[in-house]
Symmetry: C2
Subunit: 362 residues, 2 copies
């Protein structure tokens, strides 16, 4: 949508005078199409493979656009990037608001760049469609990292279903990897099912926590502990250091209660203070160790295969829905059926049967 | 599947000798079909409308069977029941394991029956597919209620996606209502998204809690408090009475922090001891009051319309998936593609594209 507006205003500003309204819609569409072609998907792809960040950014915008006429370009991009993808380590990072995720990513990302890594930061934020904000929208919170040549930070796509956001994020990972980013950080806030989604697309899952006052084991969503490969207790500085150490011991005890994992990895608990840049290196060493162990015992690859199977089904399901709901007749008729439900003149079952039958005949 | 086995064994036992293997598959299928026809969907429907519980049970089994050849019968049943449905109050009940949901439903259900109500108990339990158990599987926990003529208790359908379980539960509600049950209790355990699903099909949502030791506001999943129309503090008896009263005050305070609801209903906090049958009547009076208020201000109907719209989309989405994955060619080819992913010979995107294209050509 943004692109269209820009083109309109460019048209209007051309040679200082506005174009008459009599310009037919057809020729306007032709002009638009020509302009859009200016950078083809193939050219974009080549630029991405060279590590061009503006091209990467533009390609992700294309992925995020829900327009059907971009579908072919998106395919070209993904198919072209796939052979160059999969060579990174993908790290999921979660934690409740206020735990210091942005500060942690700033510190951790800068450390990784010092180690010669290329770091991409993506986010899955299902709440952004409601709050009209986004986790990474406030870029100033990562002001050092954002300036780095070897960092790529992308705010969340907003206004979408979790399934849709997930698909886009997964495709964005592929593109980032093809652009040479070898460490992908995927941030999420602990809402609904978003952690599960991020867990299903990452190799290593970090849960950020704060030391509380004796309630360390409370308030953790069921299942999150089981997903975490490591718990990082952030803000372990100053007065917080003692309670953080206590919390570490408690978490360690709690993690011991879970059965051994298929990965043979025993989840770790680490202290850190992202603000004071302390405890960052041990976290990276731990992740490198995890990669070594799980690549040796093959779990790393097995896990990615399982994730791929899951994403095959997800991709199909999303596509089935998008094929159905994007048909103009269905769009019109769905609106009518929703109105009939509002007026008590039909039931969800009748309406669904009617629309499905209609689609079959199209 | 069960039915098929039974028929086979009946065939084998006929006249004390086993039937030869030469009975053609075709004629066996014909016999099966004849036996299945013995009670037609139309007959089942008439029995349900007369309030026949075994017929209701059998119809729900039909809904739960995922067999495509039952789809037409299921439609007949639902379409036939719909004009007689919608006249009940639907109450969702959630709470962590151990909070006493079964004991509460036993006490609450028996009270309702004494008031002349007809009570159906259903359950949404997405974990049952993993644990191979089910919330209501252990029927002895409701031994009084289960004996009542005016009670219908149905254990959860197992082994399915949450979406699938939700659809079946919603359809079961319609059938129960058509069979004359005027109070529908839908139980769920607080796992994943199941509360959201139950909330989306009920008029009133009860959250059961226990009085803890100062951590009353911890451990509550985000969003649950916002969904609850009432919090019931169970096991408020003996030594527990004082902490329960304290907890009540704290919950009341917490609930005050939420903005006013569209329903204009202010969520209540009540104490009860399901085991000692105390505090049950005020809960029902509260729900009756809720119904009165929201029927007067129209929210009750508005909410059901919104739920119907949601279920229209859910029904379509489930049907799109079921249409796709139930095609024999897709079943075979999907298996092959999953194997190729396992062997690293394709990607989820390529495989999805291939399968979607294949389905188009079928």
């Amino acid at each position: 949508m943004k692109q269209t507006n820009k083109q309109n205003s460019a048209l209007h500003n051309k040679e200082g005078k506005s174009i008459s309204n009599s310009v037919s819609a057809k020729s306007a569409a032709r002009i638009k199409k020509l302009r859009k072609k200016k950078v083809s998907a193939e050219e974009l792809l080549q630029a991405i493979l060279k590590g061009n960040k503006p091209a990467l950014s533009r390609a992700i915008t294309l992925i995020e656009s829900q327009q059907q006429n971009h579908a072919k370009d998106v395919s070209t991009l993904i198919e072209g990037c796939l052979p160059h993808a999969n060579k990174s380590i993908r790290i999921g990072i979660t934690g409740v608001p206020g735990v210091g995720k942005s500060t942690f990513i700033e510190a951790f990302g800068n450390y990784l760049i010092q180690q010669g890594k290329k770091v991409a930061v993506l986010a899955v934020d299902p709440t952004s469609s409601i709050s009209h904000g986004s986790i990474l929208g406030d870029k100033t919170r990562m002001e050092e990292l954002v300036k780095q040549e070897n960092a790529f930070i992308r705010p969340t796509a907003s206004g979408d279903s979790l399934g849709g956001v997930a698909k886009k994020t997964r495709e964005s990972i592929i593109l980032c990897e093809a652009a040479g980013f070898d460490t992908i950080l995927i941030e999420t806030v602990g809402v609904g099912q978003s952690e599960t989604v991020v867990h299903s697309m990452t190799d290593f899952f970090l849960l950020l926590k704060l030391a509380g006052a004796g309630d360390e084991l409370q308030g953790i969503k069921r299942g999150i502990m089981e997903m975490a490969d490591a718990i990082i207790i952030n803000k372990a500085d100053g007065e917080n250091e003692r309670p953080a150490k206590k919390a570490k011991a408690e978490f360690k005890k709690a993690l011991h209660l879970y059965p051994t994992r298929q990965s043979e990895w025993i989840p770790k608990v680490k202290l850190c203070s992202a603000l004071y840049n302390s405890g960052i290196e041990p976290i990276w060493k731990m992740i490198e160790n995890y990669r070594k162990i799980t690549q040796e015992n093959d779990y790393f690859y097995h896990n990615r295969h399982e994730q791929n199977k899951f994403w095959l089904l997800q991709t199909i399901n999303e596509q089935l829905k998008s094929n159905f709901y994007n048909q103009p007749t269905i769009k019109t008729e769905l609106k009518k059926q929703l109105q009939l439900i509002e007026e008590n003149k039909t039931t969800p079952f009748e309406a669904a049967t009617y629309l499905l039958k209609l689609a079959k005949e199209l």
